[in-house]
């Protein structure tokens, strides 16, 4: 066989073989991977909206999705805002649970971050950061207490304590939360969050 022809044939057939092999593997793992992703989101929603039994995606765009957490009756008991933005080093992705009027927060979960371990990474830490997000007043903008207050009682209802030594990460989270809350509020007003209209599942 001529060399060039052999080159073409060999490569093409290796390509074909690999393609079919991968198709099989891809097929076998596809579901599981999708499931993993979905489960991650779902678990987060359940975490930030206690009492959730089932979930529903209400809105989606780049860097912002809103889910509804439903109770056994299927009524939406809170929103879970999935948003991301730039932190100290890299993107921070978080999930914030609120009540349906978007006036009180439920809980905050950090899904993905690459902040400095032991410093910015404390935003994933309940003790030093996440606890302050429970049950805050979010009818207006939430603000940061700097320097940090000694105890949670000292904080105003709409205040969050900074992490000492990681103001930037704290501010970044705050920024993401405030802007996505704002956005969501607008969506709600415009009626784009109607649970019936966009039933994904």
């Amino acid at each position: 066989m001529k060399l060039s022809v052999r080159m073409v044939v060999v490569l093409t057939s290796i390509g074909l073989l690999s393609g079919s092999f991968l198709a099989t593997v891809g097929h076998l793992t596809k579901e599981r991977i999708a499931l993993n992703k979905q489960r991650e989101i779902e678990e987060a929603i359940i975490q930030v909206i206690p009492g959730t039994v089932s979930t529903q995606k209400l809105y989606e765009e780049r860097d912002l999705s809103v889910y509804g957490g439903k109770d056994e009756q299927g009524t939406v008991i809170g929103f879970a805002i999935h948003a991301s933005g730039i932190g100290f080093q890299d993107r921070i992705t978080l999930m914030l649970g609120t009540n349906t009027s978007l006036e009180r927060t439920n809980r905050l979960a950090i899904l993905d971050q690459k902040e400095t371990p032991g410093l910015g990474a404390k935003i994933t830490d309940a003790e030093s950061f996440l606890q302050y997000w429970e049950n805050r007043d979010c009818s207006g903008a939430i603000s940061l207490r700097k320097p940090a207050a000694r105890s949670a009682e000292e904080l105003l209802p709409s205040e969050i304590n900074t992490i000492t030594g990681a103001t930037i990460s704290s501010e970044a989270v705050l920024g993401i939360v405030n802007s996505s809350l704002e956005h969501t509020r607008r969506l709600l007003k415009e009626g784009k969050l109607s649970s019936e209209a966009q039933d994904v599942n």
Binding site: L119, P147, R150, G165
Partner: protein, 324 residues
């Protein structure tokens, strides 16, 4: 005409009396006011940190000299003492001694000796040590205590720059007064607080021609221009150039650290670019970066360019480029 042992050497046979140890000891002498100020403001903490850093630097240096089978007289050239002193001067007074010792070991080991010791290092050793500590122990390195003269008790205390950057000091009207910055009655690293003491030492070095005047001047000029432009545009948001010059590590950096001969360019043009570059990077970091202070990073960053600067700014030789 008795002896038969004349000296054999190449010309010249006259030499200036200045020497490396003399230069180094002049720098140490120029640091005396700043050291005194640090002892005054931070008392025992300052003493402990200064002593442990200098001692650790000397021990580490001696260890490496021994390992490399180099003459031990280099230990007394004063450079390791300076590294120790300057490292200590740039540490927060509350830092524990163990961490200071780690920093000092790193300063000499990976900042200086791995490159071949005095004269060969690319980066400023004291700042390598400090950068190591800052990255290894960011919390300890940004925990500040008030100077002993303030007689207040607080758990957290911000430096003037931290105050400016993270606590909206201008808006809240709590910007540190320039007078305090000048005398040093503020929080901060051991040796950076008293601008007065630093200027004194810097002027001494300039007058003895130990340091290249272009470096402090270039840094001050470019920082003034950079911060000045923003300040003029929006004084509600940005602090004045004078504040930026007196606050933080700028003066100690401009007079004592950027001027380290080993890690700064040898050509005049290169020196200008280096100095202006440092000022601008400081401005960038202070105004827009994640840190309140950028002196250390900007000096290290520009250190990295020094070999390139030296190479591409070679002065024109007398008669070069003229047609023969």
């Amino acid at each position: 005409m008795t002896n038969n042992a004349f000296i054999l050497q190449s010309s010249p046979h006259f030499k200036d009396k200045d020497s490396v140890p003399k230069i180094m000891y002049a720098v140490i002498a120029s640091l005396v006011p700043a050291v005194a100020a640090s002892l005054y403001f931070f008392r025992f903490r300052a003493l402990v940190l200064l002593v442990s850093c200098v001692a650790t630097c000397l021990v580490t240096e001696a260890l490496f000299l021994w390992l490399r089978r180099k003459p031990l007289h280099s230990l007394f050239d004063g450079s390791a003492v300076i590294t120790g002193l300057l490292l200590a001067m740039t540490l927060p007074p509350s830092l524990s001694v163990e961490l200071a010792i780690i920093g000092a070991v790193m300063a000499i080991a990976i900042g200086k000796q791995v490159f071949g010791g005095l004269g060969y290092n690319i980066f400023n050793p004291a700042l390598v040590g400090r950068a190591f500590l800052q990255t290894a122990f960011p919390v300890a390195m940004t925990t500040w205590i008030p100077p002993a003269t303030l007689k207040i008790q607080t758990a957290t205390f911000a430096t003037p720059l931290g105050n400016l950057r993270f606590e909206d000091a201008i808006a809240r009207g709590t910007l540190t007064p320039l007078k305090d910055l000048f005398t040093g009655n503020v929080g901060g690293c051991l040796g950076e607080t008293s601008s007065f003491a630093l200027i004194l030492g810097g002027l001494y070095l300039l007058s003895r021609r130990v340091i290249d005047w272009r470096i402090p001047l270039g840094i001050l000029l470019s920082l003034t221009a950079f911060t000045g432009a923003f300040w003029l545009a929006n004084p509600e948001k940005y602090a004045s150039p004078l504040f930026h010059i007196l606050a933080g590590g700028l003066l100690i950096g401009a007079f004592f650290m950027a001027t380290d001969m080993v890690t700064s360019p040898i050509t005049p043009l290169g020196t200008w670019i280096y100095a202006l570059g440092i000022g601008i990077v400081i401005g960038l970091i202070r105004l827009f970066g994640g840190f309140a202070e950028g002196v250390m990073y900007s000096i290290l960053f520009m250190n990295a360019f020094v070999p390139l600067l030296n190479r591409y700014t070679r002065p024109r030789i007398l008669g070069e480029g003229r047609k023969a």
